[in-house]
């Protein structure tokens, strides 16, 4: 049984392929804990701008990927980085990589924007903080991130595509299933297996 019938809308495949190609350049994530300590402790603007220059274009690309119009993406990315500046002292490098912290902030701002437009309840600052406080914390968040990056690059293509479609197009598994012509149960079990592999719980098994 073919796992993915040809889609009438090829865009997700394209997006996934482009992302796989760019992921394959193998650049390792940087450790920003010194810069963040300087921003939190001395309100160091140079360090903040180094973080800004690195993450501003990446956040814009992420937000464009989940369907945010360009001008709004810039606005939300700016807002995310302003939060980073204002709340730098609550960032703990032992608990999560800076990219993860920024991902959460940008994602929650984006969800709030969508819900505000649709008249839905908001996620709000408190939810961001609650999730953040609840983070169990590891002593090696940066090392974990580097390892996670390697595992993402090593995912089998179908799993890699589904993970990227989930995060980068913020698509529900039902939407992904209809777009790829895959049964919903198959999409979910691929995502489940990908998640376990990324936690290192499945060894070399595909």
């Amino acid at each position: 049984m073919p796992q993915s019938a040809p889609s009438e809308r090829p865009a997700p495949f394209e997006a996934a392929r482009r992302m796989s190609a760019s992921a394959a350049t193998g650049q390792e994530a940087r450790d920003w804990s010194d810069e963040m300590a300087a921003v939190a402790g001395r309100r160091d603007r140079d360090c903040f701008l180094r973080i800004y220059d690195h993450f501003m274009p990446r956040l814009c690309l992420y937000l464009r990927g989940v369907g945010v119009p360009e001008a709004v993406a810039e606005e939300l990315a700016q807002e995310s980085l302003l939060r980073l500046w204002q709340r730098a002292s609550s960032y703990d490098p032992a608990r999560s990589a800076l990219a993860t912290w920024l991902f959460r902030i940008a994602r929650n701002l984006q969800i709030d924007r969508l819900r505000r437009e649709a008249g839905h309840p908001q996620v709000g600052e408190q939810a961001i903080d609650a999730e953040w406080d609840a983070d169990p914390g590891t002593t090696e968040a940066h090392a974990d991130q580097v390892q996670l990056q390697r595992r993402i690059e090593a995912l089998p293509p179908v799993q890699a595509r589904l993970i990227r479609m989930s995060y980068f197009e913020a698509k529900s598994h039902q939407q992904i299933a209809s777009e790829l012509g895959m049964p919903l149960g198959t999409v979910k079990s691929h995502v489940r297996r990908a998640f376990l592999r990324l936690q290192g719980e499945m060894g070399g098994e595909p």
């Binding site: 903040f48 309840p121 993402i152």
Partner: protein, 220 residues
């Protein structure tokens, strides 16, 4: 006691990716508040998002537009930081509903307007703006719910009491993360009433005749 039934990894990934409906997210938030294990899993799912952001490779990062935005950012650094919202802390208040449910059912248990659905069974249904349904159920102890299946997914958090079905024993704090192909018949435990909240992304399917009579009550 820590929960024994947890969120499916696929649900956590969707939540981390921001792809769940507001109703499903609210039930996820309710479960996370009481489940350290799922909070830890969610942190790992968020980390995947972090890596994917990191892996973005901007083509021309340092153009004129970047310089303009950079200046605009610098100009905002002296803005006073907004005060974090005061935590709506009312944990000690037994009348207070868990916060994620407030947009759907209000903040007070006493003020809930339960509707009769059958002997010992009451419900409140709220339709979310996106078409998802939130269902609050109060089933008396020792009651047998009608067999039902799901056209979409059902995410149910047990708030009080307990029930058993073919999938196991579900007590307060547990979540039942059910697929479209699951059909089940919960039986509530003796003792206290079972209160649970379900997010549905499609109507329930009731195969039996009694259940079909209930169906209009759910507005289907």
């Amino acid at each position: 006691m820590s929960p024994r039934h947890h969120l499916d990894a696929a649900t956590l990934v969707s939540h981390a990716a921001g792809a769940l409906s507001p109703e499903m997210s609210a039930v996820v938030a309710l479960h996370l508040a009481g489940c350290a294990e799922c909070r830890a899993s969610l942190a790992r799912a968020d980390a995947i998002g972090g890596v994917l952001v990191e892996q973005q490779h901007p083509a021309h990062a340092q153009g004129a537009q970047h310089a303009r935005l950079r200046d605009a950012m610098l100009a905002r650094l002296d803005e006073p930081a907004p005060q974090p919202a005061a935590p709506a802390n009312a944990d000690g208040d037994p009348d207070r509903l868990p916060a994620p449910l407030h947009p759907y059912f209000g903040a007070s248990w006493r003020a809930l307007k339960w509707r009769w659905m059958g002997p010992g069974m009451h419900y409140i249904r709220t339709l979310g703006p996106s078409g998802g349904t939130m269902l609050l159920l109060r089933i008396g102890p020792g009651r047998r719910m009608p067999v039902h299946g799901h056209q979409g997914s059902e995410l149910t958090q047990i708030v009080r009491g307990a029930y058993d079905d073919a999938l196991g024993h579900f007590a307060a704090g547990d979540v039942a993360d059910l697929d479209a192909d699951t059909e089940h018949q919960p039986v509530t435990a003796p003792g206290e009433a079972c209160i649970c909240v379900s997010a549905l992304d499609a109507p329930l399917r009731f195969p039996g005749w009694f259940a079909r009579r209930l169906q209009p009550l759910f507005g289907i």
